[in-house]
């Protein structure tokens, strides 16, 4: 059992994969290869009927995600069996029908792939005991439905219909998921059977109302209950066999299935009854009312399906044994007569080329078999005696008269809605049974009508046969099918009685009067329809709502997004900085910035020199902001930078001061080199509002940052670990220069990261400049034109300067471990020597001084550092462990050998390589290519 049930669910998916692989080769014969599977399933399930009828049920469990309560556990009871029979039986017929229905050059592989996906998923829905698994299959049915509706995706109608059905059913699906999770929280399980035992627990839980609403939203959307019925007509863009299978016989009934099953847990309350029965009966009337007005045959059938689904839905809201029996039996009957009707409409469409009711008449002679079957099925739908629809409809009307909680206005109204709906049902059934086939023989169809082939007729014939057989002898399914289904739903054996004749009673009267009134309306159809259509043409209906919502979503989101993503850096920065200032400011305020004891900061200790330096720094920064020329901006920024260096000097941080000074110096050069390529700064007109916002945000942010720093200063909770480095730089790092030891030893990994950054900068400049450079056809003489400095004095000095700096660099490098200096500073200095040379002489000459290509310098530096790290690993130490020792050398005295020195050499290589690369690329004097015709971009960057 375990194996068989899982096979039923999983085999279609396996077949789907096979179809993907072999489908194209088989073409239309694929259908023949696939028919045996659903057929075998149907026969197997039929063979289980007697055992299920005797009260047996079958379970099989695979654990899947126990942590979330999701298991692939299946349970076959009478109710699931009925559904499984429909899925497999009608599945087989539809597979067969499609072979003859689709054009021979259609993509059969894709078609059957989707059908198989659906079949497996639908089996999963009706057989799953685990609600999360059920949800999974539920979503897969929505997706396969989407794909099938969009099968002819070249048509705009198909695409729109597919989208609509997907959105509506998946929205419901998400709601269902939320309901399921809440139910799991309330009931402590995701197993339907376990939850059914805990019904009282769930119903007493505060989440009960939410659960009911969420779950029912899922069921109503799937079963196209008002106001979610809007997707089903759109789904008619699918090939007709698909409509027969998914959109009338099986998938749309998944909502009914779920409601019936969930009634075991959630049902039996006024809320449940009111919602399910109310929505069901309103849908019943609305659907049939809309169905009569359709001009397209499939549209008519779609609304008729909506209406009939409402009928069944209401029964599971009532939940009495009589109502459940009626619902279950009607479910079966509807699958039979509606499946047959869809296939027959498909035949008419196939044979005449149209489905428009107004173009079709008098088909009786040309299509006699179709006519006979259509008449029987349609009359069954109308509830004419001796056909199966009559029996179940009678039962439904009887059940409607017996509400579970006694009578009131609501429960009296429901049967009246049922009768009114039935009037329209008779009306549209007559359109199908009579109007298409009688009257003058049509001449307006695209193709001359003729009877369909036997391949087409076979499937509806079988269904119609069952319609008649069950109409005459409903007792055939009384116990085995309907009885065991109802027993499963009630959790106890229930004796169901299906009889043709119940005597003269109120339901019969209702039934007959509906048929009679429907007949009268049909005879007067012209004025009636004209009137109805006038009423229905109101602008406000759910379709307009859907379209409007979609439109609003797309237009609205476009507007919002455009408003936000202006493309201007200025706007982005204002928003980001403004947000940062506000939220940080708020955090500061609530952490007590206003109650802070500012005296703790001892601001009076600031010396006058410090104050002066800071003023200069501020002046530099302001200059950079207000300056109208790039040179002035650069000088302003540089001023600020050098003032920082002065501060380091004042605070006795020679290493930092040295680094800051040399970096500021060297970074001016690439900046000026770049200026040579840039257009003149555009003068912006003064815009008070814009500038005002800029100033406001800047000042606000400045205030917040200042506050943050002051609070940081005053909030020292723990001593810094910094003392460790001071104490240990000599014993652990072998150097007296703490800064250097931190850089090359204690935190060498940071340095490794930073030289990677430097390398990337060098590479980025090279890659970018080269990608935009015009071919090298430029006169070499023009080189350096951008940066010619006094050609007389500089060369004379620069030679001296170059060698002086170089010698000093070596000194700085080696003293670094104990005194201010080190690889980074030495590297930048050496690079600056190169730059001076390049400024004084010609670039090639300067570059030739270091005959190695920058990328090789950087690469070697990185490799040196990395291999030092790996060396430690070889010796069994953690990556980047440094070592040092001192040896005695003649002449030099005690010399220290430290791996840190090699590490510093790596840094040195990367620094010099990176700077050389940048200067070399930027100073070769060749113009940079500009893309033509894109002035917009420049304007934008100017504004930003």
């Amino acid at each position: 059992m375990f194996l068989n049930l899982h096979l039923v669910v999983l085999f279609p998916f396996l077949l789907a994969v096979l179809t993907l692989v072999f489908g194209r080769r088989l073409g239309r014969h694929l259908g023949w290869a696939l028919v045996p599977f659903p057929l075998a399933c149907a026969l197997y399930l039929l063979s289980l009927v007697p055992r299920v009828a005797s009260g047996e049920s079958f379970s099989a469990t695979w654990n899947w995600v126990p942590s979330l309560g999701l298991s692939f556990s299946l349970h076959l009871d009478g109710f699931s069996l009925l559904f499984a029979l429909l899925i497999s039986g009608i599945g087989a017929l539809v597979t067969l029908f499609s072979i003859h229905y689709l054009d021979p050059d259609e993509d059969f592989g894709r078609f059957y792939l989707y059908i198989l996906l659906f079949m497996g998923a639908m089996f999963g829905v009706v057989l799953s005991d685990n609600l999360l698994a059920l949800y999974m299959f539920w979503e897969i049915t929505s997706i396969s439905s989407f794909l099938l509706i969009g099968f002819w995706h070249e048509e705009a109608d198909s695409r729109a219909g597919a989208l609509k059905s997907m959105l509506v059913t998946m929205a419901g699906g998400l709601s269902l998921l939320a309901g399921i999770v809440l139910m799991g929280i309330a009931g402590g399980s995701f197993s339907i059977r376990e939850l059914a035992d805990k019904g009282a627990l769930v119903q007493g839980h505060p989440y009960y109302t939410a659960i009911v609403v969420l779950v029912l939203l899922g069921a109503f959307t799937k079963s196209a209950q008002a106001p979610f019925h809007l997707w089903l007509p759109g789904a008619m863009a699918a090939p007709t066999p698909v409509s027969a299978y998914l959109h009338s016989a099986t998938m749309v009934k998944a909502g009914i299935f779920l409601t019936a099953k969930m009634a075991m847990i959630l049902g039996g309350t006024g809320l449940w009854f009111g919602l399910v029965a109310g929505v069901g009966m309103v849908t019943m009337l609305l659907g049939s009312y809309l169905a009569v007005q359709q001009r397209d045959l499939k549209g008519l059938l779609a609304f008729s399906t909506v209406s009939q689904l409402g009928f069944m839905m209401a029964m599971f809201g009532y939940g009495t044994p009589e109502a459940q029996s009626a619902g279950v039996f009607h479910l079966l009957n509807h699958a039979l007569f509606k499946g047959s009707l869809f296939l027959l409409v498909g035949i008419i469409d196939h044979q005449t080329g149209t489905r428009e009711i107004d173009k079709l008449s008098g088909l009786r002679r040309a299509m006699p078999f179709t006519f006979a079957m259509m008449a029987l099925s349609a009359l069954s739908m109308a509830g004419v005696p001796l056909l199966n629809g009559f029996v179940s409809k009678e039962m439904i009307l009887a059940a409607l008269l017996e509400p579970p909680f006694g009578h009131n206005l609501f429960t009296v109204a429901l049967p009246l809605l049922g009768v009114a709906g039935s009037v329209f049902t008779t009306f549209y059934s007559l359109i199908l049974a009579h109007r298409l086939f009688f009257g003058p023989v049509t001449e307006t169809t695209p193709e001359k009508p003729r009877e369909g082939s036997w391949g087409l007729l076979f499937s509806p014939a079988l269904l119609t046969l069952l319609v008649v057989v069950l109409g005459i002898a409903p007792g055939l399914v009384e116990h085995g099918i309907v009885g065991s289904a109802v027993s499963a739903l009630r959790g106890e054996p229930v004796a169901v009685h299906l009889a043709l004749w119940h005597g003269f009673n109120l339901p019969l009267l209702m039934s007959l009067s509906a048929i009679l009134l429907g007949l009268i309306l049909y005879l007067w159809q012209e004025p009636v329809l004209a009137g109805l259509r006038r009423v229905s043409s109101v602008r406000w209906n759910v379709n307009a709502l859907y379209d409007g919502l979609l439109q609003f979503l797309e237009v609205g989101s476009d507007r919002v997004t455009r408003r936000m993503m202006t493309g201007y850096l200025r706007d982005y920065l204002v928003l980001i900085l403004g947000f940062t200032a506000l939220i940080t400011g708020y955090a500061l305020a609530r952490s007590g910035i206003f109650g802070f004891d500012w005296r703790r900061l001892a601001l009076t200790e600031i010396s006058w020199t410090e104050f002066a330096v800071i003023v200069a720094m501020v002046v530099g920064a302001i200059t950079a902001v207000v300056a109208r020329q790039r040179i002035a901006v650069a000088l302003g920024v540089a001023t600020s930078g050098f003032m920082v260096a002065v501060l380091w000097v004042l605070w006795h941080a020679p290493d930092l001061a040295l680094t800051q000074t040399i970096v500021e110096t060297v970074s001016v050069v690439p900046l000026f080199l770049v200026f040579a390529y840039l257009p003149r700064l555009r003068q912006q007109p003064f815009r008070p509002k814009v500038e005002g916002i800029n100033v406001f945000v800047s000042v606000l942010l400045g205030a917040v940052v200042t506050g943050f720093l002051l609070l940081s200063y005053g909030h020292q909770l723990f001593p810094s670990i910094g003392q460790f480095f001071v104490d240990n730089s000599l014993p652990l790092g072998g150097g007296r220069n703490v800064v250097n030891v931190i850089l090359v030893d204690f935190r060498a990994l940071d340095t490794m990261g930073e030289i990677t950054v430097l390398t990337l900068v060098g590479l980025a400049v090279a890659a970018l400049v080269r990608s935009r450079r015009e071919p090298a056809d430029i006169d070499e003489k023009k080189e350096m034109s951008g940066v010619m400095i006094n050609p007389l004095i500089l060369p004379a000095f620069s030679r001296l300067l170059f060698y002086l700096i170089l010698i000093y660099t070596i000194y700085i490098f080696f003293r670094g471990h104990h005194n201010p200096g080190g690889g980074f500073i030495a590297g930048v200095m050496a690079a600056s020597a190169l730059i001076i040379w390049a400024l004084a002489y010609e670039r090639p000459a300067a570059m030739a001084l270091v005959p190695v290509e920058p990328r090789r310098l950087m690469g070697s530096g990185l490799l040196l550092v990395a291999s030092l790290g790996l060396g430690a690993v070889l010796f069994g130490y953690p990556f980047l462990t440094q070592g040092f020792t001192e040896i005695e050398l003649p002449w030099f005295g005690r010399v220290e050998l430290a791996t840190a020195l090699l590490f510093d050499l790596g840094v040195w290589l990367v620094v010099i390589g990176s700077i050389k690369g940048i200067v070399m690329e930027l100073s070769d004097g060749r113009p940079i290519a500009h893309e033509t015709g894109a002035s917009h971009g420049r304007e934008e960057s100017g504004r930003s």
Binding site: R159, L163, I185, V705, G859, F879
Partner: protein, 503 residues
């Protein structure tokens, strides 16, 4: 002595350094990169395995004990993230080989890619806030280089904005680091955690945390700090954008995940509940609104990144073990699926010469394989069971409902519908419909088939993550419990120090 922990950083570093030497020897560049990534993948799996069996793995760089040296820490979460990163990196590398112009490939593409991996893996593994800053810089510089390769004007323009905004964030990073160091005197995360639990800052720590949230929020593209993201992702070479889309923003999420479970936990009701949660929901909504508005393949995906970040932040804001597990699954799932989707966009661009959805319709008719892979990846993103996205989503929904965060969950579900809508839009407009626009690559071409290989691998992984969800979930739950157990983290990193300072 756990050199394995640092291997995910050293391997790409050395590879990158080697690749610098010969940018023009393309086959050398390509296959050395692939080989390095493969080795990286194996190493990362080994690391994950070791963490699973032996618990948190600290590594003390330079043999200097924590908190004084730089510490690396591999726990279940970071090991998983570096592993998924290397899988994605492999797929993107393969795709790059078959989709990039040679000129781009020769511009240090592969070297920069390796350095990018250094930055990403370093960010995942470091246990030191300042070191995190350094790896952020490595990552950013590499990304500037990669995203501007090709040098079209639009690209340069957008890269400039991207770089400037991220540099602003970097300065805030330094500001926040200064505040943290002044207050607690240390930047080692474990040391910080134990010092914080041994003291009370009266809300001051939360203020520092907010600055960090801004910094990491910029990286993660949290609204309203997301402005830098969509445009450069649209302009850059699609192969590399796929990696960015999958991985880079998740590094931002990871850092929030790490610091807001380990360090900024003094006032979670305020930092998580009142600040992070609203921002998470805003991120979700603004992202999806942006995605719905777009009609360009890459732009839709770029805005989705923002929206999905919102889900992850929401999980962090809930701060329950289940929610964090959901977030971890979500991050891993997004790394794979988002990269896969961008690769689909890249393939579609290669085939049709455009990324405008309306200009390439009918792709399903001409390139069914791509359509199928895209559809599966899209459904995985939407969170349709049994694909990877579902389990992240389900876990988050369940965690939210258990925490009685009804509004957040309702919003998350609604946004999920928006995700569906916009993914279906791509499918509807460019894969369905009559064949329109040019087709530069036929279904039979070798190039197309090779491009489908990495896409297919990522999709298979997304399916496998769903079918094997129990394993994923068990791992994620263990990881979530691990990151919530601060005492164990401190004990693992600072053996013998942290235990007596009361937790």
């Amino acid at each position: 002595m756990n050199n394995l922990v640092v291997a995910p950083i050293v391997i790409p570093l050395i590879t990158g350094a080697v690749l610098i030497f010969s940018p023009r020897r393309l086959s050398f560049q390509r296959w050395v990169s692939v080989a390095s990534c493969l080795i990286g993948l194996v190493v990362n799996i080994a690391l994950m395995h070791r963490v699973w069996n032996q618990g948190i793995q600290p590594f003390y760089a330079g043999n200097l004990p924590a908190p004084f040296g730089i510490t690396f820490v591999a726990d279940l979460m970071s090991a998983a993230f570096v592993t998924v990163t290397s899988v994605t990196a492999l797929a993107v590398l393969f795709f790059s080989i078959y989709s990039l112009d040679e000129q781009v490939e020769q511009s240090y593409y592969y070297a920069a890619f390796q350095f990018l991996l250094v930055g990403v893996n370093g960010s995942f593994l470091t246990g030191d806030i300042f070191n995190l800053f350094v790896f952020f810089e490595v990552m950013l510089l590499a990304s500037y280089l990669l995203i501007s390769l090709g040098g079209r004007r639009l690209q340069m323009q957008e890269t400039l904005k991207y770089a400037l905004i991220n540099n602003v964030a970097s300065s805030f990073f330094l500001l926040a680091v200064a505040g943290l160091y002044r207050t607690y005197g240390t930047l080692n995360m474990a040391d910080l955690a134990q010092r914080i639990s041994a003291s009370d800052s009266n809300g001051w720590l939360s203020a520092i945390g907010i600055v960090f949230l801004v910094v990491f929020g910029v990286k993660a593209a949290m609204v309203p700090l997301h402005f830098w993201l969509p445009q450069p992702y649209f302009a850059g070479p699609t192969a590399i954008v796929a990696f960015f889309g999958g991985i880079l923003t998740k590094v931002g999420v990871y850092t929030i995940l790490r610091t807001f479970t380990l360090i900024f936990v003094e006032e979670t009701a305020w930092t998580h509940g009142r600040v992070l949660l609203p921002l998470a929901l805003l991120t979700m909504v603004v992202g999806i609104i942006g995605a719905i508005a777009q009609t360009d393949f890459k732009k839709v995906l770029a805005f989705h990144i923002v929206s999905q970040i919102g889900y992850m932040l929401m999980g962090i804001a809930f701060l329950t073990p289940l929610a964090l597990a959901g977030t971890i699954i979500f991050v891993a799932h997004q790394m794979i699926v988002k990269s896969g989707l961008f690769l689909c966009a890249g393939a579609a661009e290669r085939i049709s010469g455009t990324t405008d959805l309306k200009e390439m319709s009918g792709l399903m008719t001409t390139h069914g394989g791509l359509a199928a892979l895209f559809f599966l990846a899209a459904l995985a993103l939407v969170g349709v069971p049994p694909l990877s996205g579902f389990f992240g989503k389900l876990t988050l929904i369940r965690a939210g409902l258990e925490a009685q965060r009804f509004f957040s969950v309702a919003l998350a579900i609604t946004v999920g519908l928006g995700t569906l809508f916009s993914m279906i839009k791509i499918f509807r407009l460019s894969f369905w419909g009559e064949v329109r626009g040019e087709r530069r690559l036929s279904r039979e071409s070798v190039e197309y088939k090779r491009m489908m290989l990495p896409v297919g691998a990522l999709v298979v992984l997304a399916v496998a993550m769903g079918l094997g969800a129990e394993h994923v979930l068990t791992y994620a739950q263990a990881a979530a419990e691990q990151i919530l157990d601060r005492r164990a983290y401190v004990a693992a990193v600072l053996p013998g120090i942290g235990l007596d300072l009361g937790f």
